[in-house]
Symmetry: C2
Subunit: 455 residues, 2 copies
């Protein structure tokens, strides 16, 4: 019998990490503080209390290196963690590359993406601190699915503001969120002042993540029993996602291999941070030389063409300002862009590590992303989420570079979710209806000119 090639590098349930890794403990310079949207002065924990439970606020500002994962959260993680790490051997053969291509597969979570890692943690802390209702936004729907599932697990009420265009185009994603018992409202809606203000000006608004965030935040701020949950951007969300990288480090050791390059797509930044931060922590200690690459769509280039400055997290300017790579809170990705990652900003922590030179950023065009997704599906079986296609495309690019050089290269990327609820974008791609898009420099300049001027 032929010797089997190892495909899976899986860990037992007992190896679910005991603590999240907080890179803030190891950063050479600290993060800039968030600012109050009214006073533009640094805010303290109390300022965030209307929106978040105190446990999460304390995590948001913590500089402890390790933050213990509560037993109840680890118990829930056991439903799908440790997540699989696989070697894409058939893709390697198809590409005829000397590179080793590994992927961490977060789409194996019951919610279909990495988002559940922070959803169960956030709902746990909310429950513990007495929250009765949670509000949130969702764009492509991964976050809404994850949060509604976590709320079902803990018996919390959940209300999701779903960007109008997704609400209309993705009835099945909405049905999934509703199956978990959450209520879903198309955003902009008439339920909030922020929503009504947008609708007054643009009655047919397609909505945006920035608008939906404003609506969810507004509803939470009104009622002491209601809090708000965000699926990316914030420090505590990055923190919860570090289980991805912590597991990957163990799994790469199982594979007796070490990544030369680590790749993840970046919209708000959470799946990138999840894989990258634990490796960056090692890099800061001289234990890893891996290049760390964030991949964004050419149509939404906050890291590669945005400015690293203070900006609002939402369109209605209700959130604190954070220092991040941003295209301006009025940014609207073009309609031809089908593939997620449509947020104007980027997590402050991700922006900061890029600014420190610890990581780099690159862009992928939409057609290359979908072509990569199809190639991956035909080799590996899994049809990636459009967001994850950007990481796949960058991984293939690295593998082909290695081939051109005739040298080995070990590539590890984050396959952050599956595309089962995104088939409409594959239909559009296969029908030739998607286009590449380069955000025009003058439009970027205009959007950036509108950024708030701080200090």
């Amino acid at each position: 019998m032929l010797r089997m090639e190892t495909i899976q590098y899986n860990l037992p349930q007992s190896r679910i990490p005991l603590a999240w890794y907080n890179i803030q403990a190891d950063l050479p310079t600290p993060l800039a503080p968030p600012l109050h949207p009214g006073t533009m002065k640094p805010i303290g924990p109390a300022d965030l209390a209307p929106l978040f439970p105190m446990s999460l606020i304390l995590q948001e500002v913590s500089t402890e290196r390790e933050i213990e994962i509560p037993a109840e959260v680890r118990q829930l993680y056991a439903q799908w963690r440790p997540a699989p790490m696989m070697r894409a051997r058939r893709l390697e053969k198809t590409l005829d590359t000397p590179a080793h291509i590994y992927y961490k597969y977060e789409g194996a979570s019951p919610a279909g993406s990495h988002k559940l890692n922070t959803a169960v943690a956030q709902v746990y802390y909310n429950k513990k601190d007495g929250t009765k209702h949670l509000t949130t936004e969702t764009g492509a729907g991964q976050w809404g699915s994850a949060l509604s599932m976590a709320c079902a697990f803990f018996g919390l009420d959940c209300k999701v503001y779903m960007v109008r265009v997704s609400y209309d185009q993705k009835p099945y994603r909405r049905a999934l969120i509703e199956a978990f018992g959450a209520s879903v409202t198309a955003s902009p809606s008439n339920e909030t002042e922020s929503g009504r203000a947008i609708l007054a000006k643009h009655p047919n608004s397609n909505g945006s993540l920035g608008i939906a965030i404003s609506e969810a935040v507004e509803m939470a701020a009104k009622d002491p029993d209601t809090k708000y949950a965000l699926g990316s951007v914030l420090n505590h969300v990055m923190l919860h996602q570090t289980v991805i990288g912590l597991e990957a480090i163990e799994q790469m050791a199982l594979a007796d291999d070490d990544p030369d390059v680590i790749i993840a797509c970046a919209g708000g930044g959470s799946n990138f941070a999840g894989l990258a931060m634990p490796y960056l922590g090692r890099k800061l200690k001289g234990q890893s030389k891996a290049r760390v690459v964030a991949v964004e769509p050419a149509a939404c280039p906050s890291l590669t063409k945005g400015r690293f400055t203070y900006d609002f997290g939402d369109t209605g300017h209700l959130t604190p300002l954070v220092k991040m790579h941003t295209l301006g809170s009025t940014f609207m990705p073009p309609g031809i862009h089908a593939g997620g990652l449509r947020y104007h900003g980027m997590a402050p922590l991700v922006s900061h590590v890029l600014n420190l030179g610890l990581a780099e950023a690159t862009t992928v065009q939409q057609l290359d992303a979908f072509a990569a997704g199809i190639q991956f599906a035909r080799s590996e079986g899994i049809i990636p989420a459009p967001e994850s296609n950007h990481a796949v495309a960058a991984a293939i690019r690295e593998a082909l570079e290695a081939k051109a050089e005739g040298k080995p290269r070990t590539i590890l990327f984050n396959l952050s979710g599956h595309g089962h609820f995104d088939m409409q974008s594959y239909i559009a791609y296969q029908a030739g209806k998607l286009e590449n898009y380069e955000y025009p420099e003058e439009e970027i300049a205009m959007a950036l000119a509108g950024l708030p001027v701080i200090g």
Copy 2:
């Protein structure tokens, strides 16, 4: 720290079974032979050669107990096997039952169901025996997805006849099949005599599995380089699925538990056979006392209300006749029935073990099936395929019986697939648009009266 409860009972890649288990070696009485559709006489391997490669024909008639899984197939299995076995502890708590509920999760395969277990095996043998093109049918779409994926892995051309109503209602399932490079035709089509004959009589025919099988078989029979692949019913398909039960036996040992009852839904019979046959093999040796339960929809009750007799596998009467539980090859499940499992017959092997009293059958009404699916999703995160909901409902029924008795009961069921491509049926359920349906006795009697009379 709280002790973690074990949720996962997972095996390493090295524990993928080395051989499939063939219960034909252990049956007290052999299967009745298939009959030629023209002569009504028993057929030999050569009669099947126009449709199947000889390797699979030999497996179809084999009475060897163990059939080695080729290394190439095990290597592909390593993409998703050994499949997870989980304990549904949150569901147990929700039900407040003393029962232990375990499920084998076949939806973790990249194709989203157990169907990939036989798809990769069938495509492997076809490739080995020189097949260039494969034709098949698909109803709900699980099988079409699996076969097209396997064909992509092996570089075989694949053509799928998709039941018209699914083709129209499930564009995303179709898009998935097309993403793997297969071509998809709505059935009945104008491409075949069988299809044209149906369309002449019923121009707006919704199609059925029986019709689509006729079309796929007709295309394969015409061309020596083209073979046909069936996703259920046949002995070699049941055989390939036994990896499910073989792994489950090891995983139950890891859990230090032993099932009192084993449950799977049954349409054509393959996911049921996959889990059940290895346990029935133990039962025949006195090593297991588990009750083995096949669950079918009340709207398609071939095991509970059909006749155990010879019938055609397809509507066009092109296939051999096999002895099975059948409602007659003209059977059409009612339109209000949303949930898969719509085939008129049942695998001869499954029919035979039921007839021998080794297993039992029960029915679940549609509304109970979906209610169970929603309850499962809110407890365990996974939204089951509508087919699998029947197994979930039966498992919950057993758990509630155990609760009523105040006695423990160990339940193992097969969660054969996820429902990501079936959300339309959940939308219909949540909107109150689905109904229960009891197939009227007089209609069954009429359908059975039309069965061929043999011997």
